[in-house]
């Protein structure tokens, strides 16, 4: 899981059964002590694998949306909740967006977001994210070793990396490169192996498709989903081409418009193996 704090933006990303939405009101309250008021909120997630294990307010997307609607001021009047489907039953993309200002295409937001979710990782590659018993390392030094042996440090060579390896397995990293963050989270256990890659970029960066390709190659997944928010159609097509170059087949391409966030494109891919 990761937290990013900009002067006027907070991004928090958690896996597991955390009650993430309970952070909304404390963040709004404490931002007010700094004379800052909320102007936009966006909540996204894939499909729950164990929905019955989710605590309130995450027992269903309807409940999450109701909870968010109650947590934000009426000034965030441009609101929309949507579940973007795919051809893979287990893969839908859930989005709730709210904002005080309507998004307009001809003033593209500075940064767009790419959220990649990967399951059914290649077992040999996933094994690199297990700690060696009695390795004499701590989370930081073991994390650094994993970053290097897997090539994660070569996804964006300009990024400074903050990494951590969990015991007995699992890995998280944040990359920081100027205003851009990237983050990777890995659960390597067989049966429910999972990895995510997320990155932001401006329309002036043209390395996103290549970074997505390098990130997917690190894990060799059976299934990949890619959600892009406020990106250009051209960038979505380039990301599709990059993932297909790895031998994966695009199974679905769907999209939806959000008044406060622009276009969300959701693509799913499966390996040909």
């Amino acid at each position: 899981s990761s937290l990013f704090v900009y002067p006027t933006k907070i991004i928090i990303k958690t896996c597991g059964t955390t009650q993430l939405l309970k952070s909304v009101q404390p963040f709004i309250h404490h931002a007010r002590t700094l004379n800052l008021h909320i102007t936009a909120l966006r909540y996204t997630r894939g499909s729950f694998i164990f929905p019955q294990a989710q605590p309130h307010p995450h027992t269903s997307f309807q409940e999450e949306v109701a909870y968010l609607e109650d947590s934000i001021p009426a000034s965030l009047c441009y609101r929309k909740a949507s579940v973007i489907p795919s051809k893979l039953k287990s893969h839908s993309w859930h989005v709730f967006s709210a904002g005080a200002v309507e998004y307009s295409d001809n003033v593209p937001l500075d940064l767009y977001t790419v959220e990649v979710c990967m399951t059914d990782l290649d077992q040999t590659l996933a094994r690199k994210f297990f700690r060696h018993p009695n390795d004499g390392k701590n989370g930081d030094s073991a994390g650094r070793e994993m970053t290097e042996i897997t090539g994660i440090n070569r996804i964006n060579q300009n990024a400074h990396i903050c990494d951590f390896a969990f015991d007995p397995c699992g890995y998280s990293m944040n990359g920081i490169d100027g205003e851009r963050y990237s983050t990777i989270h890995v659960t390597p256990e067989d049966g429910f192996s999972y990895a995510s890659f997320e990155c932001v970029a401006s329309i002036y960066n043209d390395d996103m498709a290549d970074m997505v390709k390098k990130a997917v190659r690190v894990f060799g997944p059976g299934t990949v989903s890619v959600a892009t928010t406020s990106a250009t159609q051209d960038m979505c097509a380039r990301i599709k081409g990059a993932v297909e170059q790895l031998g994966m087949k695009c199974r679905s391409f769907s999209m939806d418009e959000f008044p406060a966030a622009g276009t969300v494109v959701f693509q799913t891919f499966t390996s040909r193996r």
Partner: protein
Amino acid sequence: MAVSGFEGFEKRLELQFSSHDPDIGIGLRELEFKFLEQVLHQVQCTVVSALGNQHFDSYVLSE
């Protein structure tokens, strides 16, 4: 659910703020770490690693 408490696909929340004061300075980065820890406690997370630059602060969390 996996033994490790892992539940699969992440949840992601992004909040954007603004101020009537034109000079925002470092804005939210001024929040005290103990407040961030309070909020993270509500989300069942703790900070295990941190790194920042002149634009933003980043924290790796454990659940």
